[in-house]
C-alpha cells in the first residue's frame, strides 16, 4: 500500500508540473499586451510615458526571458505569492482567497447533495429494475448530463425567481454573515451545480448495484436468511460503492466547470466569476493562477480518490 501511495504521489507531482507548463505557455499566446489594457485604464489620467511603461514591465517582471518568468511564477505560487493582478492592482492570492470561500461553500453543498441523491436514486433504480421509478431515474440522469447548466440556471430564475418569487434571483451571502439568507440564496445555484453530478453518480451506482446483486455472495446472504435491510446496506451498498468513488472525482471536475457558469448566471462573487472577468480583462496573472488552483484541486482530489480506491479494493493496489 505504501509503495502504491508513493508511486501515485510521484506521478501527481509530475502531472502538476506539466500542468504549470501548459498553463504558462498557453497564457503566453495571449494576443495583446496586458499592459496596454492597463494603460487603457490609465488613459483618463493623461496616459503613460515610455519610461513609465518600461518601469511597469520591470515591475511585473515582463522584461525577463520567458523561462525566468515561468520560474518566477511557479516559485512564487509555491511560496504563496501569485503575483499582482494587472487589472485589480491587488495581490492575486488575496483576490483568490476572498472568493474561494464562496466557491467552496457552494461546491461542498453540491458535492454532498449530488453524492447522496445520486447513490439513493441509483440504488432504488437498480433494486426496482424495469419499474417506473427506474425509468424515471434513467430520464433524470439523461437530462442531468444533457442540460446546459447556465440555461438551467436561467430557467429556474424565470420560474422560481421571477414568476413564483420563492427565491432571490441573484446575489450571495456568506453563511458566517447570515446563515438563513445563505441557504435561501444557495438553493437554486446548488441545485443547478449538483444535477450533472447527480446524474453521473446515479448511473454509476445503478450499474454497479446491478452487478453486485448477481454475485454469489448476495445469493448466499439471502439463503442465510438475512433480512433485506441487512443485505442491501451491509452487502450490496458497501460493495457497489467502490466503483462509484472514482466517479465522485469526475463529478468534482464537472462541478467546478459548472461553477464558472452558475456564478455568472446568479452573480455570485466566486472564483469562477473572477476567472471569467479576468479572461475578458486579459488579466493573465489572475487567469493563470486561478486555473492552476482549480486544476490542482481537481488533481489532488482525484489522487485521494485513487488512493482510497486502492485501499477499498486490494485488487487495484497490486494490479
Amino acid at each position: 500500500m505504501t509503495s502504491y501511495i508513493i508511486r501515485r504521489l510521484l506521478m501527481t507531482i509530475v502531472i502538476l508540473f506539466i500542468v504549470t507548463l501548459i498553463i504558462f505557455f498557453v497564457m503566453q499566446l495571449l494576443p495583446g499586451d496586458p499592459l496596454v489594457i492597463f494603460m487603457g485604464q490609465q488613459a483618463g489620467s493623461g496616459g503613460i510615458s515610455q519610461e513609465q511603461l518600461q518601469e511597469l514591465y520591470v515591475r511585473y517582471g515582463l522584461d525577463k526571458p520567458l523561462i525566468v518568468q515561468y520560474f518566477n511564477w511557479v516559485g512564487g505560487v509555491l511560496r504563496g505569492n501569485m503575483g499582482e493582478s494587472i487589472y485589480y492592482h491587488e495581490d492575486v492570492g488575496v483576490l483568490l482567497l476572498e472568493r474561494f470561500p464562496v466557491t467552496l461553500d457552494l461546491g461542498i453543498k453540491s458535492f454532498v447533495l449530488y453524492n447522496i441523491l445520486g447513490v439513493i436514486m441509483g440504488m432504488i433504480a437498480a433494486l426496482r429494475r424495469g419499474k417506473l421509478i427506474d425509468s424515471f431515474a434513467t430520464v433524470i440522469s439523461y437530462i442531468g448530463v444533457s442540460i446546459p447548466v447556465f440555461w438551467l440556471g436561467i430557467l429556474l430564475i424565470y420560474i422560481f425567481g421571477l414568476r413564483l418569487d420563492w427565491f432571490p434571483i441573484i446575489g450571495y451571502t456568506l453563511p458566517t454573515e447570515d446563515l438563513l439568507k445563505n441557504i435561501h440564496q444557495s438553493v437554486l445555484p446548488v441545485f443547478c451545480l449538483s444535477l450533472m453530478g447527480w446524474a453521473v453518480i446515479a448511473r454509476q451506482t445503478r450499474s454497479s448495484v446491478l452487478e453486485v446483486i448477481s454475485q454469489d455472495y448476495i445469493r448466499t446472504a439471502w439463503s442465510k436468511g438475512l433480512t433485506e435491510r441487512a443485505i442491501i446496506f451491509r452487502h450490496i451498498l458497501k460493495n457497489s460503492l467502490i466503483p462509484v468513488i472514482t466517479v465522485m472525482g469526475i463529478g468534482l471536475g464537472l462541478m467546478f466547470g459548472g461553477q464558472v457558469f452558475i456564478e455568472q448566471v446568479f452573480a455570485i462573487p466566486g472564483v469562477g466569476r473572477l476567472l471569467v472577468s479576468s479572461v475578458f480583462a486579459q488579466d493573465y496573472q489572475v487567469v493563470q493562477s486561478a486555473t492552476l488552483v482549480i486544476a490542482a484541486i481537481v488533481i489532488v482530489v482525484n489522487l485521494i480518490v485513487d488512493i482510497s480506491y486502492g485501499w477499498f479494493d486490494p485488487r487495484i493496489r497490486y494490479g
Binding site: 506521478m11 509530475v14 502531472i15 502538476l16 506539466i18 500542468v19 507548463l21 501548459i22 498553463i23 498557453v26 497564457m27 499566446l29 495571449l30 494576443p31 439523461y142 437530462i143 448530463v145 444533457s146 442540460i147 446546459p148 447548466v149 447556465f150 440555461w151 438551467l152 436561467i154 430557467l155 430564475i157 424565470y158 421571477l162 471536475g253 464537472l254 467546478f256 466547470g257 459548472g258 464558472v260 457558469f261 455568472q264 476567472l275 471569467v276 479572461v279 475578458f280 486579459q282 487567469v287 486555473t291 482549480i294 486544476a295 490542482a296 481537481v298 488533481i299 482525484n302
Partner: protein, 298 residues
C-alpha cells in the same frame, strides 16, 4: 458449435459475422429511446442542410421595425432586439452546433487516437511522455481548459474548434491507449509482426480497426459534450462570433428580456438540450450494441 465439434474441426468458436451485424441492428434499433435520439439527430442534420428552405428570414440581418415582438404567425418564436426572427436563428444555429461538434471530433479524434495508439504500441518512454501530458490535460475541468484557450485565441468558429479539441484530446488518447495495450497482446498481432509487418502497418491496419467500435461510441458521446461546451463558451461570449447565430449566445442575449420575452432565452436552451440528449441516447445505444461483453445478454 459444441466443444467436441470444435476439437474435431480444429476451428475455434468464432461468432459468424452476419449474426454480429444482426445483433447490432436488433439491439440498436430495439429500444425506443435510441430510435427517438436517431430521429432527433436526423432532423438536426436536415435542419442544418435545408436551413434556407425552412425559413425565409435571415439569421443575422434583422428588421429594426420588428424589434422585440411576441410570437405570432409571422414570427413563430418572436423576434429579438435587432428584429431578427428567433426561429430562423435557431435553425441556422444548428449549423454552428454541428460544425463545432464534428470539427472538434475530427480534429481531436484523429490526433488523440494516433497519440494513444503510438503511446500504447511503443510503450516505454514514448508512452510515459505522451500519457503524462494527457493526464495533465485531464487535470483541468474540460470547460475550464476550453475557456482559457479560447480566451487566448479569441472567439470565432475555428478557434472554438481548436480550443475544444485540445480540451477533449486526452479522452480519445486515453481510451485508445488502453485499447491498444489489450489488442497488442493478441496472437494475430504477434503473427503479423512475425510475417514482417511494419509498425505502421500493424498499428493502423490491425490494431486501429479492432479498437474502432469503442472509439465510435466515445465520439458519439463526445459530440453531445462538445455541443454543450460550445454553447457554454458562446454563452460567456467566447464562442461563435456575433452576429452569427449560436444557441449559447442566444440564451445569453435573451436573458435581459426574461420577464417579458422568455422564449428568447429559453427556446435555444431547449434546442441545445434536445440535441445533446439525442447524442447521449444514440451513444449509449451504440455502446450496448457494440459491446461484445453484452453478447448473449442483449
Amino acid at each position: 458449435m459444441t466443444e467436441k465439434q470444435a476439437i474435431t474441426t480444429g476451428v475455434s468458436e468464432a461468432p459468424p459475422r452476419a449474426s454480429e451485424w444482426k445483433r447490432f441492428r436488433r439491439v440498436f434499433f430495439q429500444r425506443k429511446l435510441v430510435l427517438f435520439g436517431l430521429i432527433i439527430l436526423a432532423l438536426l442534420v436536415l435542419t442544418a442542410i435545408l436551413a434556407p428552405l425552412l425559413t425565409s428570414y435571415s439569421p443575422t440581418q434583422g428588421n429594426m421595425t420588428e424589434s422585440l415582438q411576441q410570437p405570432s404567425w409571422k414570427h413563430l418564436l418572436g423576434t429579438d432586439l435587432q428584429g431578427r426572427d428567433t426561429l430562423a436563428r435557431l435553425i441556422y444555429g444548428s449549423r454552428m452546433a454541428l460544425a463545432v461538434g464534428f470539427g472538434s471530433v475530427l480534429f481531436a479524434g484523429a490526433i488523440g487516437i494516433i497519440l494513444g495508439l503510438v503511446a500504447g504500441y511503443f510503450g516505454g518512454i514514448t508512452n510515459m511522455i505522451i500519457m503524462r501530458i494527457m493526464d495533465a490535460l485531464m487535470g483541468f475541468p474540460m470547460i475550464l481548459l476550453a475557456l482559457v484557450i479560447s480566451a487566448v485565441l479569441g472567439s470565432g468558429l475555428l478557434n472554438v474548434i481548436i480550443a475544444l479539441s485540445v480540451a477533449t484530446l486526452p479522452g480519445y488518447a486515453r481510451v485508445m491507449h488502453g485499447l491498444t495495450l489489450s489488442i497488442r497482446e493478441n496472437d494475430f498481432i504477434l503473427a503479423e509482426q512475425g510475417m514482417g509487418a511494419s509498425n505502421i502497418r500493424t498499428m493502423f491496419w490491425h490494431i486501429l480497426p479492432n479498437g474502432l467500435p469503442p472509439m465510435i461510441v466515445l465520439i458519439t458521446l463526445q459530440l453531445g459534450a462538445l455541443i454543450l461546451a460550445e454553447a457554454g463558451l458562446s454563452f460567456l461570449g467566447l464562442g461563435i462570433r456575433p452576429p452569427n447565430a449560436a444557441w449559447g449566445a442566444m440564451v445569453a442575449d435573451g436573458r435581459r428580456y426574461l420577464l417579458t420575452f422568455p422564449w428568447l432565452s429559453l427556446a435555444p436552451g431547449v434546442a441545445i438540450m434536445l440535441v445533446v440528449f439525442a447524442f447521449n441516447l444514440v451513444g449509449d445505444g451504440l455502446r450496448d450494441a457494440l459491446d461484445p461483453r453484452l453478447r448473449g445478454l442483449l
